[in-house]
């Protein structure tokens, strides 16, 4: 684990991408091959199963540190990371071991078969023999969740550099459901066998938000416009007589959307479609709320299947007849996609997401204002002759979203953040007026700069009225503009509404607290947009 800890330190100590990539590339050339595989797995979110629950870890950590559990629990939110808190409170190690990363991961896997006293003995032994950084990493492996400032993109770049391969090819190799416990460095990274994994999705091409006026993109005739749907971006793969459904977050969702299996009846093998998973009803896409009921469910009861049937609203064709079409211009991919979809019956679980015709940017801007009526969150603009690229790239695809809805709200509770934001108050609850009362209606965590978070933190410390554990009730004083993408009625919230993607868009220093919006304003928005 020393080699892995050195890699972690090199990455953690730098804010510079070039330094991180160089450290990773060196690791991918030098470390034992099995450790390289696990490192790729960890940094691409394929973490080993959690071997010990965190309640036990806290108890054992406090016990070994010789402190009461309550003191540990007080320190945890201040540090902002459980693995780190434990690593910090433990006394220095008294022995030293030098097992590799793979050894520890295998040991943790085997731990799930062990009774609790054995588990505890194992964890305490490990703590007593690892230095602080290794201990922190061991705890990270124990608790899962390995966000340490290495994006998949960065790791892909390092792998490409270490193996002298193309970055896009490397990104493709890392997609899908390969298993770090069974694959090898040669199979995953080196060997030339793209058909090795029938379920492997293509890396998604992601759009940047359009910041300029669309006029700057050039001639309208060179562009294709589509509605930007508010569903789950997904890839449907039909290969070897099977089908696979992947989300953009590389989650295999085949079993969650069983209705998509019927695609096999109509669409030939060797096809990969890119599109939006949406709830479908009354001949039209339904709002995100309808799809929400299906997310997180691994098995779907019949009733829900008929209430909120899901389709793939297809907008791109990545593979056809077993051939990779990604270098083919969009207009040609689209033509084939349209022919394919035209052949499908009406009740097929795949439909063609229509293009939005336009002859000038002005008329398109007009059309865009009606996006909410179409259950869309804006428009997508795609250059007609563009290839299908890998990852987020500027130039050929843009998302042109509607301006968010906004409401001015009063901050009433504050809580400190985690990780990089530990020790800063960053998580706030906001309220609107209902008569003379303030009714909480949403939380928001993002949108302010570090400097603003520092300012509000100092203010919260001086203006705390009451504490509820880590939550502080503050004097109602500051008004923030809350931006959000949608609003729904909700029986689970006191205010009766739930917002989609709420964030702080502006700190309204200019607005006195009395001038914040009211529950009536919120209900009016619900009536219009809900």
């Amino acid at each position: 684990m020393k080699r892995f800890a050195a890699l972690f330190n090199a990455i953690d100590q730098s804010t510079k991408t070039t330094v991180k990539v160089a450290a990773l590339a060196e690791y991918f050339q030098e470390a034992p091959e099995e450790d390289r595989i696990w490192t790729i797995a960890i940094f691409s979110g394929r973490r080993p199963k959690r071997a010990v629950n965190t309640t036990r870890l806290r108890e054992w950590g406090a016990e070994v540190a010789g402190i009461p559990l309550w003191l540990f629990e007080e320190a945890y939110p201040i540090v902002g990371d459980l693995a780190e808190t434990i690593a910090l409170v433990l006394p220095p190690p008294d022995t030293e071991t030098d097992h590799g990363l793979t050894h520890w991961i295998n040991a943790l896997r085997d731990l799930s078969q062990v009774e609790e006293p054995g588990r505890k003995a194992f964890v305490l032994d490990a703590w007593a023999s690892l230095d602080p950084t290794q201990r922190f990493l061991f705890n990270k492996l124990l608790t899962g969740g390995f966000r340490i400032g290495v994006s998949q993109k960065l790791m892909t770049r390092a792998l490409a550099s270490a193996t002298d391969k193309d970055e896009a090819e490397m990104a493709h190799r890392l997609m899908g459901d390969w298993d770090p416990a069974t694959t090898t460095w040669a199979r995953l990274i080196l060997e030339d066998d793209p058909a090795a994994n029938a379920s492997r999705p293509y890396p998604f091409y992601l759009a940047y938000a359009l910041e300029d006026e669309p006029e700057n993109l050039g001639e309208p005739k060179d562009w294709q416009a589509e509605w930007k749907w508010d569903g789950i971006r997904g890839q449907l793969i039909l290969r070897d007589g099977k089908h696979f459904v992947w989300s953009r977050g590389e989650e295999l969702m085949t079993d969650r959307f069983p209705e998509l299996s019927r695609a096999r009846d109509f669409i030939p093998d060797g096809t990969v479609l890119d599109g939006e998973l949406l709830a479908w009803g009354d001949g039209a896409p339904q709002n995100f709320n309808a799809l929400q009921k299906r997310i997180g469910r691994k098995t779907v009861p019949k009733k829900l299947l008929s209430e909120a049937p899901v389709i793939l609203y297809a907008y791109d064709l990545l593979e056809w007849g077993g051939a990779d079409l990604r270098q083919t211009p969009l207009q040609d991919r689209r033509a084939t996609l349209e022919t394919l979809c035209a052949s499908l019956p009406d009740d097929a679980p795949v439909r063609l997401s229509p293009t939005v015709p336009f002859d000038s940017w002005d008329t398109l801007a007009q059309t865009r204002t009606a996006a909410r009526d179409a259950q869309a969150e804006g428009l997508m603009l795609k250059r007609s002759d563009s290839p299908y690229l890998t990852g987020r790239k500027k130039g050929d695809w843009w998302k042109w979203k509607l301006d968010p809805l906004t409401i001015d709200a009063v901050m009433i509770y504050a809580q400190s953040g985690h990780g990089r934001r530990a020790n800063l108050f960053t998580d706030f609850t906001f309220a609107v007026w209902n008569g003379n009362d303030l009714v909480p209606f949403t939380k928001a965590y993002s949108g302010l700069t570090d400097e603003e978070f520092r300012k509000i933190t100092a203010w919260v410390k001086k203006n705390t009225q009451q504490r509820f554990g880590p939550v502080r009730q503050v004097t109602p004083h500051h008004v923030f503009e809350i931006a959000f993408e949608g609003i729904q009625a909700s029986s689970r919230h006191k205010s009766g509404v739930a917002l989609r993607f709420p964030r702080m868009s502006r700190w309204r220093h200019d607005k006195p607290v009395q001038e914040a919006n009211s529950l009536d304003d919120l209900n009016e928005m619900l009536a219009i947009y809900g």
Binding site: S14, A65, I78, V79, E84, G149, A422
Partner: protein, 334 residues
């Protein structure tokens, strides 16, 4: 609360001697533990501080009336017997012992127990009532040996120098900067200082405190003449127009807060070194134990948590609201 010391809106007060300790409002007589701005404020009619602390206070507060006293020297002020004892926080810093009719109080200001090689080392003082800080009063704070940190900083500096970069080390101007200087290996390259730090250096050198050679990085300095240098500067100067003049550089920050990864990543630029002029968790506890005091007053830092722990462990502890800095991890002094 009655006794030799009481707590008033202006600060910690001794009725028997009619004086305050580190007051935050203007008073006639102020006994000062050390020269940091949250303890030595402007506007007192008269000040009393150690002979080692006074020069920097004069430098910072201007033309004020400061009487001085040596460590361990006893002074009768009205009905109170007063003496100053080393707190180890920065050069000249003191714990102030106040005895009235056999009842002994110690107000410790800020302190650390490790010998930093520059400040007179902390000495435990027996008392009945002990006023303590708790800036790092959580069990997650545990300092490593100064030699370990010195090696880390020198390695980093040498790496910067080898890569043709200037090493910028952000630190507090009074105390921390001088301590860091004395930990640096001058064979690596020249030690440059921001004007705010060099002014304090000059005061300390004049009073006979031995500091390594430094070059003030003033407006006329040409960075090209000082390849491979380390520059000590207040954190606010890092990344400023003045700092950018030096070209390729790495920024580091030296503070106890760097023990927490979240703060380190938010604040530290390239590197964060964990070094503090405050006591860590175990030293706070051993300092308190060493006083033999039963009554503990916790002034600043993680006051509520630390106080609860002390009470758990059998002390009679309470939180004291003061205007000393400390709780704020964004504070640059720690």
């Amino acid at each position: 609360m009655s006794g030799a010391l009481t707590f008033t809106p202006a600060g910690i007060y001794c009725p028997a001697g009619d004086f305050y300790i580190d007051p935050w409002k203007p008073v006639s007589r102020a006994l000062i533990t050390h020269g940091h701005a949250d303890h030595a404020r402007w506007g007192m009619e008269s000040y009393l501080a150690t002979d080692i602390a006074a020069p920097v206070m004069r430098h910072r507060l201007g033309d004020v009336s400061i009487d001085t006293i040596g460590y361990g020297e006893r002074l009768q002020i009205g009905g109170a017997t007063v003496s100053f004892h080393p707190a180890g926080h920065v050069p000249g810093s003191a714990q102030i012992r106040v005895e009235v009719e056999g009842e002994v109080w110690v107000a410790s200001g800020d302190y650390k127990m490790v010998d930093d090689g520059l400040s007179t080392p902390f000495e435990p003082v027996k008392c009945h009532h002990f006023i303590t800080e708790s800036t790092f009063g959580l069990p997650v704070f545990r300092w490593q040996d100064q030699a370990v940190i010195a090696a880390q900083i020198n390695d980093w500096w040498a790496g910067c120098a080898a890569a043709g970069k200037t090493a910028f080390l952000g630190c507090y101007a009074l105390g921390k900067a001088q301590r860091l200087m004395s930990m640096l290996n001058p064979d690596i390259g020249p030690i440059l200082t921001h004007t705010a730090i060099e002014n304090t250096n000059a005061v300390m050198r004049t009073q006979g405190i031995a500091l390594p050679d430094t070059v003030q990085a003033g407006p006329d300095l040409n960075p090209k003449d000082h390849r491979g240098a380390i520059v000590l500067a207040p954190p606010s100067a890092l990344g400023s127009a003045w700092a950018r003049k030096f070209g390729a550089q790495e920024n580091a920050f030296a503070s106890g807060w760097m023990a927490l990864r979240g703060i380190r990543r938010r604040r530290a630029g390239d590197r964060g070194f964990v070094i503090s002029d405050h006591a860590d968790w175990s030293d706070l506890l051993s300092a308190i134990t060493g006083t033999g005091a039963e009554n503990i007053y916790v002034t600043h830092g993680y006051t509520e948590i630390f106080t609860r722990y002390l009470n758990d462990q059998g002390w009679n502890a309470q939180v004291l609201q003061t205007e000393f800095g400390g709780e704020d991890a964004e504070d640059e002094a720690a």
